[in-house]
């Protein structure tokens, strides 16, 4: 059974509609994806919600019918048929979309907000009635809907406003819409049914109207700015459908501003602008509704995913398949490696999950009670938990495979690193030994030999002493020769001190067959690389002398694109055994430990070619 959890940083959802099971990793939302067992409570809640939804939808329809009736009975509504149709288009669009939204995402406030906007829109039509009380009430709400729409759009998708600025913006807009409307009604000019009229000051009322309209236009435009900023804040490419929803919201806000300003500026064609605006206002929730239903339809992409996964894609293709299924090109996969206590990518390299401030959302995927991976995705996917669940469940085995792959790579990486460390530690130790030998025994022997030489000069008249001293000096010279060979075998100090070309020239001069040496290097390379290359040439030439029966050989050393290529070729009998003896295995180990590779071609009778490629990142 695959299980999906949302980012633990996020809050636990309210209600028990989703099957919420025990949380294993931190306090997070845990959602079962398959084997979903709903309790009796959940079923009861579902049934209750169903009936409430139907009741709201019916109430919305009744309200719409009511508006139609009021328009036709009104003595002051021009073109009542058209007017009531346009208003009801908005009312029903918001209420019905809101009902569906609430049904699909009961934990989100967005559905109720839509429903509220729809009903308030209906309440404004009370001003069509030629009866004092409903008229006064409806008129007082007249400019509330534009502000409600602003509230709805800014609260998308959670139903909650984000941050203090947005809350203040919306609150101020509400105050302007209601407060100035009431003020204007006090100042009169609304006809005989206005219960609030206390004086008749048409000039002041006109000023208040202008202020009110300009202010609400400004709030609408500010709302567009907020939406645009939010969009820019999302660093990764925005998933296409939520983007379209937000764009439709922005369009509504633009139209509201245009409509209100056309009143202020007394532009011609107000009636046309009003009709277009009403149509656009009603379209926005429909776009939202389509997006919502698409999320359900998107489950069909899970079917495609299953087909794709049946073809057993490599772990590298899994991310692309999931990105297609989730319609989120920015999707990133991070596998959980328990032994390392961290997430890693497919190469086994550790990755950090993005924090809450990054504008990315994270969904954790479990399988058989063990944590497998994390999906890092666009936050809008959080509104499609069903999709995430379905995709996570479908990809369970493939994700586990990917996780094993990542773990293998991570272990390999670790092994390689530890091999490099072992080699480097060994090299340091050898270097120290060589140094000790040089500064200790070798220097002492030379000094001793010098003393004997001086003594020899003093005893010029004693032939026997001279003979014996000479013998002693020769013994010392032999010891020094042996010590030099040992020291060179322990660590080629000349490589560290003077570089590869200098060391190679002496090797070449002592080569057992005529040798062509080509060195194309600029500057020094990391010591371990130079030493490895030196040993490759040294060992290969020694093999040429011992086994190849060659008449000539060549050594080519070239630095190319951050790697060192060493090639030793002879024209001997070939047939070198790379596995037993010949030191080739040891060379291969040394080269491979540095992330390089050693290749040997040695056909019978066809000479031998040893090629080492050693990466030498700076």
């Amino acid at each position: 059974m695959a299980r999906i959890r949302a980012d633990p940083q996020r809050k636990r959802p309210r209600g028990s509609a989703c099957a919420v099971t025990a949380v294993q990793y931190g306090a997070g939302r845990t959602v079962s994806t398959s084997g979903l067992v709903e309790g009796v409570d959940a079923a009861a809640v579902r049934a209750r919600r169903s009936s409430v939804s139907w009741a709201i939808a019916l109430a919305g329809c009744a309200a719409a019918a009511c508006s139609v009736a009021m328009a036709h009975l009104s003595d002051h509504v021009p073109a009542p048929h058209l007017q009531s149709t346009l208003i009801n288009w908005i009312t029903l669009s918001y209420i019905l979309s809101g009902v569906v939204a609430w049904w699909r995402r009961p934990q989100s406030r967005f559905g109720p907000l839509l429903i509220a906007a729809g009903f308030v829109n209906f309440l404004t039509t009370l001003s069509w009635v030629s009866v004092d009380l409903p008229y006064t009430f409806g008129q007082a709400l007249d400019l509330l809907p534009p502000v409600l729409f602003l509230h709805v759009f800014l609260a998308f998708p959670t139903g909650r406003l984000q941050g203090r600025f947005e809350r203040r913006l919306v609150a101020t807009a509400y105050l302007t819409a209601i407060g100035l409307e009431l003020t204007r009604m006090l100042l009169g000019g609304f006809g005989p049914h206005n219960l609030l009229e206390v004086t008749s000051r048409p000039d002041a009322a006109a000023v208040a109207l202008r202020v009110q309209l300009i202010a609400i236009s400004a709030f609408a435009l500010t709302g567009i700015g907020v939406l645009a900023l939010r969009r820019r804040g999302a660093a990764r490419p925005v998933r296409p459908f939520p983007a379209l929803i937000v764009e439709s919201f922005a369009l509504v806000l633009v139209m509201i501003a245009v409509l209100l300003m056309s009143v202020v500026l007394a532009l011609p064609g107000f009636a046309t602008i009003q009709r277009v605006t009403f149509v656009v206002v009603g379209i926005a929730p429909v776009v939202f509704l389509i997006g919502l239903l698409r999320a359900r339809l998107a489950r069909s992409t899970v079917g495609e995913l299953l087909v794709e996964l049946r073809a057993d894609p490599g772990p590298a293709d899994l991310r692309d398949a999931l990105a297609r299924a989730l319609r989120d090109p920015s999707l990133a996969l991070a596998y959980w490696l328990p032994q390392f206590g961290s997430y890693a990518d497919l190469r086994g390299w550790p990755v950090e999950l993005p924090g809450r401030a990054s504008g990315r959302a994270t969904t954790l995927i479990d399988r058989d009670g063990a944590h497998v991976a994390a999906l890092v995705h666009h936050p809008s996917l959080d509104d499609e938990p069903e999709l995430l669940e379905a995709v996570g469940a479908a990809a369970g085995i493939a994700l586990e495979n990917g996780r094993l792959h990542s773990e293998l790579r991570a272990r390999l990486e670790e092994l390689t690193e530890s091999r490099v460390r072992v080699i480097e530690a060994g090299q340091k130790e050898r270097q120290r030994l060589e140094r000790d030998l040089h500064d200790g025994a070798q220097q002492r022997l030379v000094a001793l030999s010098l003393e004997l030489g001086r003594l020899e000069e003093r005893l010029r008249d004693d032939p026997e002493a001279i003979m014996r001293l000479g013998e002693a000096r020769r013994e010392i010279a032999t010891s020094l020769e042996e010590l030099r060979d040992i020291a060179r075998g322990i660590h080629p100090a000349v490589v560290s001190a003077h570089g590869l070309p200098v060391a190679l020239e002496s090797l070449a001069a002592r080569a057992p067959v005529p040798l062509c040496l080509t060195v194309a290097l600029e500057g020094r390379l990391p010591e371990r690389v130079e030493v490895a290359a030196y040993y490759v040439v040294c060992e290969s030439l020694s093999n040429v002398g011992k086994h190849a029966h060659a008449t000539s050989a060549s050594v080519e050393v070239a630095g190319e694109d951050w790697r060192l290529v060493v090639e030793v070729v002879d024209d001997g009998v070939g047939g070198a055994d790379t596995d037993r003896g010949s030191g080739l295995r040891g060379l291969a180990d040394r080269v491979e430990a540095l992330g390089g590779r050693l290749q040997v071609w040695s056909p019978q009778g066809g000479g031998t070619r040893v090629r080492a490629e050693i990466p030498c990142a700076p």
Binding site: S449, L450, G453, P501, V502, R510
Partner: protein, 214 residues
Amino acid sequence: MRAVIAEDSVLLREGLVRLLSETGLEVIGAFESADDLLRRVRSESPDIAIVDIRLPPTHSDEGLRAALEIRASHPSVGVLVLSQYLEVALAMTLLAYSAEGVGYLLKDRISDVRDFIDAVRRVADGGSVVDPVIVSTLLSRRRRDDPLAELTPREREVLELMAEGRSNQGIADKLVITLRATEKYVSTIFGKLGLPSGGSDSRRVLAVLLYLRS
């Protein structure tokens, strides 16, 4: 004749100072590091600087760099480089441009007191000294159609001594032959190898070494 020394082993440094003093050379400075040596060379301009190739602080190529610097900035000061191991490429670096007043010897050679003092004097006098190991390495190098195979054993000996930096007189002394015989050998060798004859001893060293190296 005034000498300065840079050698980080105390034992060896003191041994060298005593040896040189006993044979009538004036040691005007014996140092552990290349920097001290360079300072003294600049201030005193000695006849010869004897430099260990491996000096502090890193014990890699400090001695070699000091030697090259003296060669470049004080051509009149002879430089004798001593080392526990010999590298053909380093010999050629030291002798690059000119073989005058330069020497490159294995440290062991110190104990052959007479030869060593002879080498010191030759370098101080502007001659060249190349360790026999370098020469024999170059001579024993495997070649296709080896022109050295044309040489008689005696000519080979003469060639070796030439490459070590010895003058005709030096060669004659070493092989116990006459100067004239030596001169004859030399011209035969140059003819067989196709080298232009003539020039000073140090030019001859360079020409022979470059020939052997190629």
